[in-house]
Subunit: 115 residues, 2 copies
Amino acid sequence: MSEDRLSRVFAALADPTRRDLVARLSSADATVGELAAPYDVSLQAVSKHLKVLEDAGLVSRESRRAPVRLEAEVFDLMTKWIERYQQQAEERYQRLDALLAEMQEDQPAREEDAS
Amino acid sequence: MSEDRLSRVFAALADPTRRDLVARLSSADATVGELAAPYDVSLQAVSKHLKVLEDAGLVSRESRRAPVRLEAEVFDLMTKWIERYQQQAEERYQRLDALLAEMQEDQPAREEDAS
DNA sequence: CTCGTTATCAACCAAATGGTTGAGGAGTAG
DNA sequence: CTACTCCTCAACCATTTGGTTGATAACGAG
């Protein structure tokens, strides 16, 4: 139950219904009832989904019946995490490419091993 | 089992051990055994984690005992998803700010309603 | 105050998840 | 061929997850 923030964020977004809720909330705030309407699951199920999103800090509300609002700041958290490893991985590929290029210059054409 | 790509990616990254594997793979490829060494869970457990990452397209291998490699392209998929809603949400906030500013200009000071 | 409406809580259930141990498959070395 | 090492598969188990229904809390309108 006491997992770290990123885990909760990623776990929250792993569910298609919850991603759809986020998508809809990005264009307009909405109440729980409004949010639940399009889906063919119970209101309670959607309420649970919203609790998951709320625990992850992806949405918030001022009071129970107030419209749910998307918290855009969380996206920064994810973006930062992603960018760190993406960048690192890309740099590695570039170094690898450079290394391969260098090796090919040393041995311009090789077939089996030459004496 | 046949969920969409993004769901698998987010679900894969929801686990701290798997995020750590991704972090380590971003600096160097490694075999299953090497990857498993630092954790106090069984090799089989790590093998399962790698399968989850593989199914999500986050890592790949040429053969069973070959080193595991991070697939950097997946990050683009996530980044695109995030950016779409982040952008949309931020635009909404800007419009809201503008609207509030406009309203304050119309009624510079208001207390109850004036006749 | 009472009545509807809106949302949450509680208990329950099936399926998925993350872990275990034990057995087996596939290379590599001798 | 045999043996060892590396990894996966299979079966099992506890916990979590996403759904259900029923009861209940909180609020606005009459």
